[in-house]
């Protein structure tokens, strides 16, 4: 497991943690039942506040991605296949929204972006 925190980022630290763990779970890098570091241990490793890691884990629990069992620790939750797919789709959608926004800023036309996408689909393996 690998988490990298940037102190220079505009994004709050807890969000950086949530995002990275979420990605690892959704991409299957972290399998169902895999243990996560304890809140305090993660705080120590990342040199951040316990409250920050706690908040990140609480957020992940709310999203149903992890479960915390008292005195045992936190684990990757069992994932519903359909739900998982839906979540992944949502992530793609979010990223595409970014692309659309950026394109508008640059004044790119829909067709131009579509062409770009087509080329990328062929080139990126």
């Amino acid at each position: 497991m690998r988490i990298l925190i940037s102190n220079l980022s505009q994004q709050p630290i807890y969000e950086q943690i949530v995002q990275q763990i979420r990605t690892m779970i959704l991409q299957g890098e972290l399998q169902e039942g895999a243990p996560l570091p304890s809140i305090r241990n993660l705080a120590k490793d990342l040199q951040i506040s316990v409250i920050t890691t706690k908040r990140a884990y609480e957020e992940l629990e709310r999203e149903g991605l992890i479960v915390t069992i008292a005195s045992k620790g936190s684990f990757v939750a069992a994932q519903n296949k359909e739900l998982l797919k839906e979540r992944k789709l949502r992530i793609i959608e979010e990223k595409l929204i970014e692309v659309v926004k950026e394109s508008r800023l640059l004044g790119l036309k829909e067709e131009e972006v579509q062409t770009m996408l087509e080329i990328l689909f062929r080139e990126v393996l």
């Binding site: 505009q10 709050p12 630290i13 807890y14 305090r40 241990n41 705080a43 120590k44 040199q47 951040i48 506040s49 316990v50 409250i51 920050t52 908040r55």
Partner: protein, 291 residues
């Protein structure tokens, strides 16, 4: 679980300074940064907690017990680091420890020697030949070697080089891995706390400013910089610690006071604790001059 520290409406006045209605508390398992400019009353508060100074009024409870009535048993579980050298300086640390260690029931000599080794302290040189940082490290070694549940540190990082400071932070994380221990860490160098602190208690001129989770504080404020011509009366009122200079202004703004008219007209940056301290103290001084 009972609180490690609970202070309610603490007051203490001296001829030229008064600590007024200080209240805050600390739960087990956390690190609290205690900040404020020099002379804000941090050391006074710590001395009151330790009953080195007599409070005028208010309540201080440590591990849920009155700090004077249960002084002896409470202090068994407190590790303290003061900002000055109070050791007999014509002794070596080995002799000093021989005096101090027997007072603690849970003294852990192996752990003490481990820290002395880690901090590279000379065991037989006299304390008077020590640098400020070395005295601090010795103080820490003693504070951490009797299984204290509450570590009180007054300006521990002053006089320590960055490497030792970073080692100290690792040790502090190690302490709170055990969820029953807490740390109160006073400093005017807030950089160390930007990372490690869970809670921040901020006092200024003897008064409480706030005592809140650090993340919450950092999210509540933004540093804004911009052109002076956008400073209308309404905006000025919202800005904290406004400083105008030749080519613009800088100030702090509470996120709840965010004004959409400022969008794209100012540069916005997340603050660190130092910014929050500087802008708040500046605002306080400006108000004092105005009134």
């Amino acid at each position: 679980m009972e609180k490690i520290l609970e202070i309610n409406n603490l007051n203490k006045s001296f001829q030229d300074f008064a600590l007024k209605d200080i209240s805050f508390s600390l739960e087990p398992g956390y690190i609290m940064g205690f900040i404020g400019p020099n002379g804000a009353g941090k050391s006074t508060t710590i001395k009151l907690i330790m009953n080195l100074l007599k409070k005028d009024s208010g309540e201080i409870k440590i591990f849920g017990k009155d700090h004077v009535r249960y002084e002896k048993e409470i202090k068994e579980d407190i590790g303290f680091v003061y900002d000055q050298n109070h050791f007999y300086d014509n002794l070596s640390i080995t002799d000093m420890t021989k005096i101090l260690a027997p007072f603690y029931k849970k003294w852990d000599q192996a752990r003490y020697l481990h820290y002395i080794e880690q901090f590279e302290l000379p065991k037989h040189r006299l304390i008077k030949e020590f640098s400020k940082g070395m005295v601090m490290k010795y103080s820490l070694a003693v504070a951490l070697s009797h299984q204290a549940r509450f570590i009180i540190m007054d300006e521990p990082t002053a006089g320590l080089d960055p490497i030792i400071r970073s080692e100290l932070l690792d040790i502090l994380y190690e302490i709170i891995q055990d969820e029953t221990a807490s740390i109160l860490f006073s400093t005017h160098i807030t950089k160390d706390l930007d990372k490690i602190a869970d809670y921040i208690t901020f006092i200024n001129r003897g008064n409480m400013v706030f005592s809140r989770p650090k993340d919450e504080i950092l999210e509540s404020y933004r540093v804004v910089k911009g052109d002076k011509n956008i400073l209308t009366g309404a905006i000025r009122k919202k800005l904290i610690g406004l400083k105008e200079h030749g080519v613009g202004f800088e100030a702090m703004l509470a996120t709840k006071d965010w004004d959409n008219s400022l969008q794209e007209r100012v540069l916005i940056e997340p603050p660190n604790l130092e910014d929050i301290m500087i802008y708040t103290v500046r605002e306080d001084r400006q108000n004092k001059i105005d009134s």
